[in-house]
């Protein structure tokens, strides 16, 4: 039983990161019906930018750890968000009216470009965050050990997801995003600037993905330029699992996927950990193609 709960917390921590990345996939898909394959690489940029900012400005020495990391998070989210906006302008907007396949190819191209640019700038070796940035203590809770950092990771991801949910559901701009997701033409008729909405989506999604990259860097301490691929695939799976296009679905899907992996590793075989994630994906696609929470598909007549 103790192992079960320990694995549950392990899974939730990884799942929190999957969920943060999955939000980017799901938002872009919701509005543009496009899978942004470069999203995983924007996540990687979050990890690398965090490291560069941290070491070049010595944030952790100049101010307390927590304040330093707070500022770092804001900077990384801002920068990766801007990258997302630029990416949309350069790679997707010119193809908005083109057949959907063109945009998919463009997304793959952007992914390869971003990954190679990162390799050329930083070199092919993995990079490591400075040692001892966050306290390495663990909280003992009835026999299960939860590292303090992990609680932080889960809390940070939940806070960001909740903020996003409230933003989309409760604000005027959020309503515009939802309207554009249902029908762009009708939204335009109602006076919504769809291009601005798309830019906003490409600001928020990558910013959240970038923050996930930073969390990975801070937590695991090691980033490499190819890591966006595996995380991207998992997050994409999580988005489909929850119902792509659906924001709470991405959160549920991410957390669930992390837990499935951890429990699968614990009770079946650890060597097959990745296979469970994709088995679940196939199962979902067969049994419930719209995902667990389903996507709100507008009926177009």
């Amino acid at each position: 039983m103790e192992q079960f709960f320990q694995q549950l917390t392990n899974g939730l921590a990884v799942g929190g990161i999957y969920a943060l990345i999955a939000l980017g996939y799901t938002m872009v898909y919701g509005v543009l019906k496009l899978i942004n394959f470069a999203h995983g690489d924007l996540f990687t940029y979050g990890g690398y930018l965090g490291l560069t900012l941290l070491t070049s400005f010595l944030l952790q020495d100049r101010m307390g750890v927590m304040a330093g990391i707070g500022i770092l998070t804001v900077m990384v989210m801002g920068l990766v968000g801007v990258m997302g906006v630029v990416l949309e302008r350069a790679a997707y907007r010119p193809l908005r009216e083109a057949p959907r396949l063109s945009a998919v190819v463009s997304a793959l191209g952007a992914s390869i470009f971003l990954q190679n640019a990162l390799m050329l700038i930083y070199g092919a070796q993995f990079q490591t965050y400075p040692e001892g940035l966050l306290p390495q203590t663990a909280v003992s809770l009835g026999g299960i050990q939860i590292p303090l950092i992990r609680i932080l990771v889960v809390l940070a991801s939940i806070v960001m997801m909740a903020a996003l949910y409230l933003f989309v559901q409760k604000t005027k701009i959020g309503t515009a995003v939802r309207a554009a997701a249902i029908d762009q033409g009708a939204a335009r008729l109602m006076g919504i600037d769809v291009n601005k909405v798309v830019s906003l989506v490409f600001l928020i999604g990558p910013a959240l993905g970038g923050s996930a990259g930073l969390l990975v860097g801070l937590y695991y301490g090691r980033v490499d330029f190819t890591m966006g691929w595996v995380y991207g695939m998992k997050a994409f799976t999580a988005a489909i699992l929850g119902g792509i296009g659906n924001i709470p679905g991405a959160m549920v899907g991410g957390l669930l996927l992390g837990v499935i992996e951890a429990l699968g590793a614990a009770y079946l075989s650890i060597a097959w950990k990745d296979a469970f994630a994709f088995c679940v994906l196939i199962l979902i696609l067969i049994v419930r193609p719209t995902g667990l929470l389903g996507e709100r598909v507008a009926e177009k007549v």
């Binding site: 192992q3 320990q6 694995q7 392990n10 899974g11 921590a13 990884v14 390799m119 070199g123 092919a124 070796q125 993995f126 490591t128 040692e131 001892g132 390495q136 203590t137 663990a138 003992s140 050990q145 590292p147 950092i149 992990r150 990975v216 695991y220 301490g221 090691r222 490499d224 190819t226 890591m227 595996v230 992996e261 951890a262 590793a265 614990a266 075989s269 650890i270 060597a271 950990k273 990745d274």
Partner: protein, 373 residues
């Protein structure tokens, strides 16, 4: 007519091509210059290029300069087979490399069919030399030898319950199987035997499962990027169990990933690094390396690549030939106790290095690798 001219042009080009090739002796280096083992590849390149420069400064080999041609194998079998095919067409006399066993395995037949001597430097999987390939050699020892030393180390600690963890790669699985076999024959209690997925970042699920098996010691036979994360996350969990590693751990990046505190006390098996050897050749080389790159060689595999380069040059020098058959014949029958930087080098008929090489290393509090007596 056009065809004829094209043919003439092609003939002319190939003639000048071979004429130029005759000026130098080309030696290939296949190394992971990119990918997760990139730091090993960079080290291999540094060593081989330094040695080639030294040799050229002495007048080269048989009056010809040596030219090193580097191909990146990306630490990946598919990229490696392409690299091997490219190298095979470049008129090389021999090839040094590469690091990972699975990567080497993907290229062995290509070189063998093209009759090019290959001297691997980090590929320790047993089956690589059991295939009876004529032109394959390696300067690193084999995993069955490492398995014996590993099993002894576990016995020395006095561990009753032993966990074995590998990463499913040719090297890692092979070594884990070797150790498992020896321990089973001794009726030791192996409580855990499973694989992790390399290149992931979260190993807490695996560590939790390991912990539930309550081993006295965990032997991880994989590579340093994963080992570093395992040590770090084990510390974060607040779990204190001794970890032991195989020779793929021997890279200073391990400490960078794990952090000094988490890495302290970790033990692993490895051939000795040059800094721990007291032969005059090794000392002279250390000085030369320091002069060129401003520090000691970080990894043993770069040095083993250098030793591979030196035995090939020696063979070409002695036989006055760059034919694979002559080089092989010399390495197997005539090379005895060659003073390598990693110890004395001789090869058996299979192409394996003869002699005991493994030592036990321990990471100290400052993050240095200290050889245990």
């Amino acid at each position: 007519m056009k065809k004829m001219m094209g043919l003439a042009l092609a003939l002319g080009l190939s003639a000048t091509g071979t004429a130029r090739a005759a000026d130098t002796i080309k030696i290939g280096l296949m190394a992971p210059m990119t990918g997760s083992w990139a730091s090993e590849g960079q080290e291999m390149k540094k060593n081989v290029e330094l040695l080639a420069q030294e040799q050229n400064a002495k007048g080269g080999v048989n009056g010809k300069k040596i030219e090193v041609i580097v191909e990146d194998d990306g630490g990946d079998p598919r990229t490696a087979s392409l690299a091997a095919q490219r190298l095979s067409t470049k008129g090389i006399a021999a090839v040094i490399g590469t690091y990972g066993s699975a990567v080497t395995e993907a290229t062995q037949n290509i070189y063998n069919e093209n009759e090019i001597v290959q001297v691997a430097n980090g590929s320790t999987a047993v089956r690589l030399t059991e295939k009876g390939l004529k032109y394959f050699f390696r300067t690193c020892p084999r995993d069955d030898e490492q398995g014996k030393v590993g099993a002894n180390t576990v016995a020395k600690i006095g561990a009753k319950r032993i966990a074995l963890l590998h990463d499913s790669s040719a090297y890692s699985k092979g070594l884990a199987d070797e150790i498992n076999g020896i321990l089973k024959a001794k009726h030791a209690n192996v409580v855990f035997f499973d694989a992790l997925t390399p290149k992931e970042q979260d190993y807490s699920a695996i560590l939790t499962k390991l912990k539930a098996a309550s081993p006295d010691v965990v032997f991880f036979t994989g590579y340093y990027p994963e080992a570093g994360l395992l040590l770090k996350q084990k510390k974060q969990m607040g779990w204190n169990v001794p970890f032991i590693g195989g020779d793929a751990i021997n890279n200073p990046d391990l400490v960078k990933i794990a952090g000094k505190e988490a890495a302290a006390g970790f033990e692993f098996l490895s051939p000795p690094v040059p800094a721990d050897l007291d032969t005059p050749e090794a000392k002279a080389y250390l000085a030369a390396y320091k002069k060129a790159y401003g520090g000691a060689p970080a990894s043993i595999y770069g040095v083993l690549a250098g030793d591979g380069f030196r035995v090939v040059v020696k063979a070409i020098q002695e036989t006055k030939s760059t034919k694979a058959a002559d080089i092989r014949n010399y390495l197997v029958n005539n090379l005895k106790d060659f003073p390598g930087y990693t110890g004395k080098i001789s090869f058996n008929q299979k192409g394996d290095r003869v002699g005991e090489l493994y030592r036990v290393y321990k990471v100290d509090k400052a993050g240095n690798f200290v050889m245990q007596k």
